[in-house]
């Protein structure tokens, strides 16, 4: 089956973690002879094409990075350009990805996506959620590819089942929460390693300030009553 994929990330395609997830997912989805077309909302020139693809096709998937517990503003702006489908039957599926490792962080966004297709006279066809994707942009290319590789399996599964089943997704997205043991280990060791890693990335970026710098700090005397 032909699948229209709309990348709702506002980040340019070459640096988009969501784009990497799409590429990997598509490898699995196309393995059995399916076809896809991909549109990136970060490029305004692609909006008309994405809109027409939505209008002409009955199988649409939005791939979305979680922004403040829901879809990014740019996606909401794009949705305003779409009209509800005149005929019912279009399937709308979603991939929702985030940086934090716990699946529970994506549930609020997922709950919105469950409602969204009805505003377009479309059918909700499941959401593939998964966190722990922040690192892609900061590691070498081959390592990033390995980190995203598990999406290929889900692409194959989507080709076969033509939907995302919640049980399968929950298993893929686990853990829902970190265990108390994992949290204790993070507090003891993990956070120091992580902090050193963030500082290293910042230095590589040419950052000259501490990462907890307070450029707009308000002096107590300036504070309004």
């Amino acid at each position: 089956m032909h699948l229209v994929i709309i990348n709702a990330s506002p980040r340019v395609e070459t640096k988009s973690n969501t784009a990497r997830i799409i590429r990997t997912f598509v490898r699995g989805y196309e393995a059995s002879g399916n076809t896809t077309e991909i549109w990136h909302l970060s490029d305004k020139k692609q909006w008309t094409g994405a809109k027409e693809a939505y209008e002409k096709n009955g199988n649409v998937l939005f791939a979305i990075p979680l922004y403040v517990e829901n879809v990014p503003g740019i996606m909401l702006e794009f949705l305003e350009t779409l009209q509800p489908k005149k005929e019912s039957g279009t399937k709308m599926s979603f991939i929702l990805q985030g940086g934090f490792g716990e699946a529970s962080q994506l549930r609020c966004g997922e709950a919105y996506l469950e409602m969204l297709p009805s505003y377009f006279n479309c059918e909700y066809n499941g959401t593939l959620i998964k966190g722990d994707n922040f690192g892609f942009s900061w590691v070498p290319e081959d390592m990033a590819e390995k980190m995203a590789a598990h999406y290929e399996k889900m692409g194959r599964s989507f080709a076969e089942k033509e939907t995302f089943y919640k049980e399968e997704v929950t298993e893929f997205a686990a853990p829902e929460y970190f265990s108390e043991k994992e949290i204790r280990r993070y507090k003891r060791i993990g956070r120091w390693i992580q902090k050193a890693l963030f500082n290293y990335i910042a230095k590589k970026n040419g950052c000259r300030k501490p990462l907890d710098d307070k450029p707009y700090q308000v002096k107590q005397t300036d504070k309004r009553a």
Binding site: K15, L76, A111, E180, Q194, P215, K223, A225
Partner: protein
Amino acid sequence: MSVLVLNTLSEYNDEVLELQNQICAQSEGSEVVYTKKMKISHCIGCNYCWLKTPGICTMKDDYEIILKKILHHEKIVFITETKFGFVSYQTKNLLDRILPIATMYLQFVDGQMRHIPRYDIRPQMGIIYTGSAEHAYLERWMERTTLNFESTSLGVFSLEEGRGILSCI
């Protein structure tokens, strides 16, 4: 305890004006910002505010005015239109762009990972909306959103019930 009212409505509204006046009369130092004519881009997800220019957004537009104002108030009330049961993209952009008030650094709070706040502010936030919304969802979303800033939701109110917010601020 002052309130920053961020009005993203595309049209002038008498009822809203009256409500804003009541909010400002109730809490000294409160102010209203109309974003309609301001140039505010969406967040482009570059992460510079966390990993290159800590606390400073790379997009040089009118949002900087709002970011600075946020530090001066304890509470933020968004007055927004609704689309697809949710807040308008204009309002979502204001929230997507608020990330510079958090740092890249992480911590566990109540068993979930969170970003460590950059400043000593813990802004409470609430919503007043026009049109129709997935009300229960908006309440859940506002509660989750404020958790990220170690604060709490002031609640979500339709414009008809907008006076309800006065007892929350």
